[in-house]
Subunit: 340 residues, 2 copies
């Protein structure tokens, strides 16, 4: 089969890889309908995260079950399924508490390389969720979004306790930030402030439910959020970038007693204990337990109540993965979908 | 009046200070029955926090109202009252959300010096809570504990979401940690693990409801907590020290999705963003909103359902404040009460 492999920073190639097979009786193999490039794929692509030799890339996937191991009972060949970037058993105590991305048996899907024609999914029963029926082609981008960016934005909104009566600010206007806006809206937030200085992203934020746009960043952005919230700060802030600046922008934009939900993978972020202490905020985040939200998200998408697929503003065949990476690296695209 | 003043590290003197008077119409002046030395008083005493000239000390107090300003309506002269280490209006949006220690009009009581015979309390209506009746002398230590250490331990337990079905670990065996144990018990925690290597403190922890004692610290302490919790870590961890080691011990002892409630004032604590991200914990803490809990705590003490005053294992007259500081600095005493 064909799959994307990162050879060195900036060097992604689609090449022949060995077909994945059922290894454990709890595995499934799926034939992908679509996959995509994640903001977090850009860290190794940019050389910020070290790469140890040629690495298969990608951890977002939707497709049709091709084969299942002997112990798999909840999905079967022919079904259209979605899974998250961590395989999980969905039965351990941590999964049952809603933290499937910290499952005691979790396996990172990124190591298996989802930017490919076929993908082995470990712990298939605990990882994959089937759609009620074979979806029409126009819904595929939205289901693909559920595999990571929608689930991650959703977790950011839940961790920030977005809900009725709340003012929510969103730091970051990438796909996760934009879908954090969508999630905050679905969770009933009263006011949603999107922080963005890009016209196309502002437009999508407004479409997804943002009520205000703040273009300022850093301390000026914080001052603007304070100004919009009677000097107090937002109740809930979703951090969807993962840099020192964005994390501090999020914490400083939150009122005492408020909640920061951070889902940007922190790179070179350090927090000062005393500053955090007196900020009085709640801080929660990490790798989103997307599996927890999949049934609800699939429902919302299947019933066309939400359209998260709009974050894909570039669609290319898998063979052009290198161009997809370049477009995202240069911020020419919010998020690139690869058809398989 | 007489009051304790810190002149330089290690140099606390009880000397003549000017009698406090009503300054604003929202003030009260109280005649103290007792006051005490706080773990946080030891930071400037040890020279770790800079002191800018002679500073009145103390922020924990109980006593009888002596005078009130013209706008004070909720307390009156002759009543026995308790207040917290931050004066608060108890009416602003932040107070109403339960974060009185971040009240938009808050004033730190430490600056006014509660280790003294008299104390001016700003925003008396929002700060002071009267007991139902004049308490008997044996209850005074417990009411004094409510002014800070009990309320702080309580907030730690609430922030850690201690409650039914939960395993709670407590890092720190000072007065706050011990009262964190008491709070976790009152909040219905199933299992409470006190981390302590001091026999007298272990004994009090067990009396307050601890079910297990762990004597190991650092990574060994974490390993022990994991061992006691099926390899997962505690659901709830109260951090009541405020050092880098204790904070990491708390975070590492918490299972993914669990809650760290940190109430030790962080000194030279820095948290790595990526490590925090993958820990998957909830982190909440800061200066305890003691005012929120005072009515409930006063009730529990007045009805003799809890005995937080036991954390005072040294009682001296105010005139011997210097010895009280020394005893706590040298860890000869858990907490020193000063009779006035």
């Amino acid at each position: 089969m064909r799959g994307a492999v990162l050879h060195a920073p900036g060097d992604v190639r689609v090449e022949e890889r060995e077909d994945p097979k059922i290894v454990a009786p709890t595995d499934a193999v799926i034939r992908l309908s679509a996959t995509c490039v994640c903001g977090s794929d850009l860290w190794p692509y940019r050389g910020i995260e070290a790469v140890d030799g040629p690495s298969p890339m990608g951890h977002e996937y939707v497709g049709v079950v091709e084969a299942v191991g002997g112990e798999v009972t909840s999905v079967k060949p022919g079904q259209f399924v979605i899974g998250s970037f961590f395989a999980s058993d969905n039965t351990c105590e941590i999964c049952q508490a809603g933290y499937q991305s910290s499952c005691v048996r979790r396996e990172p899907m990124g190591a298996l390389g989802a930017q490919a024609e076929l993908l082995r999914v470990p712990l298939a029963d605990g990882t994959l969720v089937a759609t009620p029926d074979m979806p029409s082609a126009d819904l595929i981008p939205s289901f693909l979004a559920a595999s990571d960016v929608l689930g991650t934005g959703w977790f950011g909104a839940v961790a920030a306790q977005a809900g009725p009566g709340k003012t929510v600010a969103v730091v970051g206007d990438g796909a996760v930030g934009l879908l954090g806006v969508l999630a905050a809206k679905q969770l009933g937030a009263e006011r949603i402030i999107a922080m963005s200085r890009h016209a196309s992203r502002q437009k999508l934020a407004l479409e997804y439910g943002a009520t205000d746009i703040v273009t300022e960043r850093g301390d000026e952005g914080v001052a603007k959020i304070k100004e919009l919230t009677g000097g107090l700060g937002a109740h809930s802030v979703i951090e969807a970038v993962g840099t020192q600046e964005s994390m501090l922008q999020a914490i400083h934009s939150t009122r005492p007693g408020g909640h920061v939900g951070y889902v940007g993978v922190g790179h070179d972020v350090t927090l000062d204990g005393l500053e955090l202490f007196f900020s009085h905020v709640h801080l929660h985040g990490g790798p989103a337990p997307v599996r927890q939200y999949l049934p609800r998200l699939i429902d919302l998408i299947f019933n066309q109540e939400i359209d998260p697929g709009k974050v894909f503003d570039l669609e290319l065949p898998l063979s052009q993965a290198a161009e997809a990476y370049r477009a995202m690296d240069e911020r020419r695209a919010i998020k690139a979908l690869l058809t398989v």
